[in-house]
């Protein structure tokens, strides 16, 4: 592997990095095109524009337009049916120019080789993930997020695998690998194994979730450290955010991961040649694939790079948690049956006993009302904040982004007042049977939702199950109500989010103060809504339309009169 071994290439790379280090407010499209063409690639550009639903305060953008540049290395004697992607997301503020330089050097090196069997696409996207999303949608000729973009002129068949590269500084002390994608999707474990193999071969220091790999598994430190890594991965996956540009590729069944060069660890230091060698090795291996990666796991949790927890091990945990709901529902159903069957059997055959049929009818109506009202609250949480942002911004001294978040919280809190408002519909006849029936429905509803979520995104399902199941199981209108109320509020979806944020920062060894936590919470809410609209992340609609109404049902049960 003679990458950068000759001084000419090394000098060229140095020149590139120097050029790219100049302050850079927009992507130097013309320069990139020229450079890519000069190394012998087919170069194309794609322009895109997107108006976000409300201003993104974290990235400071609202109306976004940019240009993606990509060059295709055509494999000789191949009919452009398969390709690999090396992508470098660039933003106006991002400092990813080292990655661009490395990518161009790799492109120049790859172009001179004759063994390529798949086309290789070198992609530089502007506005990091937005550009990636625009490019992917145009490449697959779909439009799922309302992105406006020009059609792609050059294509290279079905993408088999993709690697995203982010280098924040020219000194790389370790390579961090990110696997969690949009909605908690994960790439095939073999891709990760491939990366780990080349890390070991090149003697690179590799980290997962920013944590060093535990060396000593016999003492308590090693397992403890891997539990921390595991928890970080669970939180990261549960958030449903793409943890790097690779996350968007996974939706199109392209195995992908993000490599991040990190400059934080003490005496280790690598130049870009080592990173380039690892990348070259990965691409050569992927080039030799006859089929897509499919032999290994798609569902796993990672306590360390070299170890994984397979789905067969972790799924029973979630199953037992959900079993609690099922058993509780069974118990309620039997209680209902015992309470209802006795009198009904007495009068059911004659069909003329006046008090019993109304009991049935009222029970159903009293169930319908809370169900409908809580679903309507969920719909309001989902729709109103974005729809009413301008009205809110006009009448209150807040910006649009703040307006969205505050409206969201206000509607969320207003849902807590629900039981008092629905009392006029609820009959007072047979109060015991009423709340039991409602809780039965709520338990089944929750169990079904959590089971579905767990199947697609285990971390999210498990996190929600662990927080919501105990409170849901014990809630009833009698007994220590304030205690139950406190428990329910603490395990509501929003509170779970807040708690997760604190836990996350705690695990990253950067603990939050209360005020910081609140600010982070507001930002996370805004990001969640925004990611649903820009990338199609499902966490926000799931919480707003599914779990929040379900949680309101339990709140209703608690305050049943």
């Amino acid at each position: 592997m003679g990458l950068l071994s000759d001084p000419v290439r090394r000098r060229a790379l140095a020149r590139l990095v120097l050029r790219l280090n100049a302050p850079l407010w927009a992507l130097p499209v013309a320069w990139l095109e020229r450079t890519m063409r000069s190394v012998g690639l087919e170069v194309y550009t794609q322009s895109f524009s997107r108006k976000l639903p409300f201003p993104d305060e974290t990235h400071e953008r609202y109306m976004v337009s940019g240009i993606n540049v990509y060059g295709i290395l055509r494999a000789p004697r191949a009919a452009s049916t398969e390709s690999l992607v090396l992508t470098v997301p660039c933003g106006p503020d991002s400092t990813n120019s080292q990655a661009v330089g490395l990518m161009l050097a790799l492109a120049a090196h790859f172009r001179g080789q004759i063994y390529w069997a798949k086309d290789i696409i070198f992609l530089v996207t502007e506005h990091d993930l937005l550009g990636t999303e625009a490019w992917l949608e145009a490449y697959h000729d779909v439009n799922v997020t309302g992105m406006q973009s020009s059609p792609l002129q050059g294509r290279a068949g079905a993408i088999q695998a993709a690697v995203a590269l982010e280098l924040s500084s020219d000194v790389v002390t370790s390579l961090d690998v990110a696997v969690e994608g949009l909605n908690g999707q994960l790439p095939n474990l073999d891709l990760l194994n491939l990366f780990q193999t080349f890390c070991q071969k090149g003697g690179l220091l590799c980290t997962l979730q920013g944590k060093l790999q535990p060396q000593d598994w016999t003492s308590i430190d090693g397992p403890l450290q891997s539990v921390q890594t595991l928890l970080l991965m669970v939180l990261q996956q549960a958030s449903g955010r793409p943890h790097g540009a690779h996350g968007l590729f996974l939706r199109y069944r392209v195995e992908a991961l993000t490599l991040r060069g990190i400059n934080s660890f003490r005496q280790y230091k690598y130049d870009l040649v080592a990173v380039g060698k690892a990348l070259e090795g990965m691409f050569r291996k992927l080039n030799h694939l006859l089929e897509r990666l499919h032999q290994s796991f798609f569902f796993y949790l990672l306590p360390a790079l070299s170890r994984f927890v397979s789905i067969g091990l972790y799924m029973p945990a979630a199953g037992f948690l959900l079993l609690v709901l099922g058993l509780k529902a069974l118990e309620l159903w039997m209680q209902l049956h015992e309470a209802g069957v006795g009198p009904e059997e007495a009068g059911g055959t004659s069909g003329s006993s006046p008090p019993h049929p109304p009991t049935q009818g009222v029970g159903l109506a009293s169930l319908m009302a809370p169900l409908l009202v809580s679903q309507a609250m969920g719909l309001a949480v989902y729709i109103l904040p974005v729809l009413g942002q301008h009205v809110a911004a006009q009448h209150f001294p807040v910006a649009e982004a703040e307006a969205v978040v505050l409206t969201l919280l206000a509607i969320y809190a207003a849902g807590l007042a629900l039981p008092h408002n629905t009392h006029w519909v609820v009959s007072t006849q047979a109060p015991d049977r009423g709340w039991m029936a409602l809780k039965l429905v709520a338990l089944i509803y929750l169990a079904l939702q959590l089971a579905c979520i767990t199947l697609t995104n285990f971390s999210l399902g498990f996190l929600l199950a662990a927080s919501m199941v105990p409170a849901a199981a014990v809630t009833k209108p009698s007994g220590p109500r304030p205690l139950y109320a406190a428990l329910l509020v603490l395990t509501s979806p929003a509170a779970t989010l807040l708690g997760s944020l604190f836990l996350w920062r705690e695990l990253q060894e950067a603990p939050l103060s209360l005020a910081e936590g609140w600010q982070l919470f507001l930002a996370a809410l805004a990001q969640g809504v925004l990611e649903h609209h820009t990338y199609g992340s499902l966490l926000f609609p799931l919480l707003a339309l599914g779990l929040y109404p379900c949680w309101l049902l339990f709140w209703n049960v608690l305050f049943w009169k």
Binding site: G40, E42, R74, P76, R77, A78, A79, S80, T81, E82, R111, G112, Q113, I114, D141, P151, G154, R155, G157, A158, R253, L290, E291, R292, H294
Partner: protein, 514 residues
Amino acid sequence: MAAAVRISLLVLLLLGPGGWGQAEPPRDSLREELVITPLPSGDVAATFQFRTRWESGGGQPWGQGVSHYRLFPKALGQLISKYSLRELHLSLTQGFWRTRYWGTPFLQAPSGAELWAWFQDTVTDVDESWKELSNVLSGIFCASLNFIDSTNTVTPTASFKPLGLANGTDHSFLRYAVLPREVVCTENLTPWKKLLPCSSKAGLSVLLKADRLFHTSYHSQAVHIRPVCRNAHCTSVSWELRQTLSVVFDAFVTGQGKKDWSLFRMFSRTLTEPCPLASESRVYVDITSYGQDNETLEVYPPPLTTYQDVILGSRKTYAVYDLLDAAVVSNSRSLNVQLKWKRPPENGYIHYQPAQDRMQPHLLEMLIQLPANSVTKVSIQFERALLKWTEYTPDPNHGFYVSPSVLSALVPSVVAAKPADWEESPLFNSLFPVSDSSSYFVRLYTEPLLVSLPTPDFSMPYNVVCLTCTVVAVCYGSFYNLLTRTFQIEEPRKGGLARRLANLIRRARGVPLL
């Protein structure tokens, strides 16, 4: 006396050639040609064409039972007479011609294997002949053409016209098939080379060295057989076999950025002697200078003649080296070429034949007029379905190929071409029939498409589950059937006809039936 003898000798000498010409059977002829075109991207394309003409059977090309072969390969000659072929076109291609970067190709071919044939109207069962033909060709060319069956064969109605002499175009005698996954390698090149009269011993075919030809960006070899007119008045017909081979050398990789090339550097061979059987053996080098940049090109050795014509709608200049001219043949030649390329610019009929599952593929043909400088997008929606479990290939996760689509067009020429004598013009210019001089024919192919279908997990547990379920279902089903079925003896009906008649009458009368 002496004078008289001399005169008679003279007369004999004068008559001699004519008399032999009458007595001797018509001669076959071989023309060979190599065109080297520097492409606008800096790559170099080399196109070989070998044309063998078979003057068989006294002007009747469909004459059966001709058994005299001289230059024409016997394998193909027998094929023609056995299957009553009128035209045969077979191409084997590895790679994809990138029209955007390389310009319009002389010879178009889709990636993989493409076979299309016109049968004579005496053939009764076209499908059967087609099947046998593809199997025989599969053996001749060592290619997997035997995988051509009804599921990938279509009968286009608009796009594929006969290229040779044709008196009727009934499309029911046309069959067309593409195998996009076919891989082309030396095992296909060797039988192709063996069809050449000089094999690879002399002439241009010396350059056909497998390890160099497959060290390229694009490799396409083809065989075209068609009937052509023997002379300008078309009084008699002869068979024409064209063997073509196009390769594109990647100048970037081999030349380290320079655009220089030489025959030796490309093929690791030089031309030393012409093929003694060839009546014409020429090398054309595209030296058209487009006059946009002041780039100079130098050709060594300097060509003795040049040839100018309108090729694919633009005027081109070629340096011509005639190998039969002894002055030309030297040990090596090289030339430096630097060129800029100018790309030539570019009523409703829709024929759709829907697919039948596992029987025949979809066929969609559209005749559309494209406005200038426009982008036309034809999109087809499809659903991914689960296949039957025996239909998966050994590598199901690789995906399934969809054949490339074909675009045939008569493109108006920028420069009017002068009508040239068909027989005199170089081979690369005369494969496709030109109806008038104001337009030229182009056929383009798109890339094949790789579609990944939903695949079950073909691992051991899956197989175990499948097998167990099948066994249980079969055993359980038959046992259950045996245990629960009750057997009864049915009484044979008596008086079938009489009873039926009686019932008819009763029905007419409105009385209950018997």
